[in-house]
């Protein structure tokens, strides 16, 4: 083999090695550091809305539940798919310091929303998490429109809420009545934390018992019977003008 051939071969080897490592290194970066839309911090339990959940109307707030004491510095940010801020007001820490909550601005339009949060702990350390939810108002047709009434009754019978999905006007009082000889509950999301709209939390309701709540703020309120979640005893209320 002559000298020019050896030089060419060496150059070729160098180029191949360099390109191989460059590609491998970048591939490794892409797979290990790809941003994930659902990132849980330590002590995260669940949230309202849940990751990838679709609402027919906007949630009234973002609530994130943990199993450890949250501290000052914790925060929630919400942006729409245009990058516009969708959260407003002060951050709230509730439920024995385990629920982080922030209100949403009014009149959110259909689309995808990204929630980014920072959970801080008593030792001052903080960790970031994120999840997404969507609003798609097309499915509002599944809801029974009961707007314009001052009071609406929802019956609990046959392991169901009757009616299950309703639209009501702001300031409407809903009365739940248990019509069967099985204990039922009315509890706000999520299960079992019940932190999204705490005014909508009953204890056990026996046959004939009632529970009532007034809904003032427009938005969607999902709820469930804590004794019959596996049986699908779920309800939803949309408050709209």
């Amino acid at each position: 083999m002559k000298k020019p051939q050896i030089l060419n071969l060496l150059l070729l080897i160098i180029v191949v090695i360099f390109i191989s490592f460059f590609i491998f290194n970048n591939f490794k970066k892409d797979t290990s550091l790809a941003p994930s839309s659902f990132v849980k911090t330590p002590h995260f339990l669940d949230s309202t809305p849940m990751h990838d959940e679709i609402y027919v109307a906007q949630p009234v707030n973002i609530t994130i539940n943990f199993d450890f004491d949250l501290a000052t510095g914790s925060e929630i940010f919400v942006v729409d798919d245009q990058g516009q801020q969708a959260a407003t007001g002060d951050i709230k820490i509730e439920d024995s310091n385990t629920a982080l909550k922030k209100d949403l601005t009014g009149q959110l339009s259909d689309g995808k929303y990204k929630v980014m949060y920072k959970a801080c702990w008593p030792d001052g350390s903080c960790h970031d998490g994120s999840f997404e939810f969507s609003i798609d108002s097309k499915k509002i047709s599944e809801y029974l429109d009961m707007r314009g009434r001052g009071e609406v009754t929802v019956k609990m019978t046959g392991l169901k809420y009757e009616p299950e999905k309703i639209i009501i006007s702001p300031e409407t009082k809903i009365v739940w009545e248990n019509l069967e000889d099985i204990g039922h509950f009315v509890n706000t999301e999520t299960h079992p934390e019940h932190t999204y709209f705490p005014s909508q939390n009953s204890r056990e309701l026996k046959l004939g018992d009632i529970f009532e709540t007034v809904f003032e703020k427009p938005g969607q309120y999902n709820y469930h019977c804590s004794a019959h979640v596996p049986e699908g005893m779920l309800g939803a209320i949309v408050v709209a003008n």
Binding site: I13, I17, N25, D67, F68
Partner: protein
């Protein structure tokens, strides 16, 4: 001439390989995801030697208070340091506890409950009697169950001086 060229080419290849290895596995590469996975507080050392010690040996343990949903308070409180052993551990909730809810109290890994867990008649608290010991770091682990049968765990701890 040929030998010089080969030597230079060899050195260049070694430098590139070393550089690539440094880029791939060098410092900083493994730390890029730590913010998402690191735990925020120190690990519990609940099973460390602690109970039944003399005052010179005793060291109060610092417990994490991991709260199940609906946890409100407990007696004793997390990280209480008491002068005598309480007769029972009681945990309060703001929602109905169901069957299956249970308290376990351990000292150096040994069970210290002196009887079964009792759920109060209003379903908002549960308690369990415990055995007495001095110079002890008690770890309390509990399971809170709800009307649909789902359960969630929590834990805390307290100490009794020698």
């Amino acid at each position: 001439m040929n030998r010089n060229l080969l030597a230079v080419a060899g050195i260049v290849i070694l430098v590139i390989i070393a550089g690539a290895i440094y880029l791939l596995y060098g410092p900083g590469k493994t730390g890029t995801q730590l913010n998402q996975t690191a735990t925020s507080t120190q690990d519990l050392t609940s099973d460390q030697q602690a109970g039944g010690t003399t005052s010179a040996q005793f060291e109060q343990e610092n417990f994490q208070n991991i709260k199940s949903p609906h946890f409100v308070s407990s007696t004793p409180l997390n990280n209480d340091q008491l002068s005598s052993t309480p007769t029972k551990v009681e945990i309060n909730f703001n929602f109905d506890l169901a069957e299956g809810s249970e308290i376990s109290v351990t000292l150096n890994g040994n069970e210290q409950t002196a009887g079964p867990t009792t759920i109060a008649s209003d379903n908002l608290s549960m308690s369990a009697p415990i055995k007495a010991a001095l110079g002890a770091n008690y770890k309390v682990q509990y399971t809170a169950c709800w009307p649909d049968g789902s359960c969630h765990d929590g834990s805390f701890g307290f100490s009794v001086s020698p």
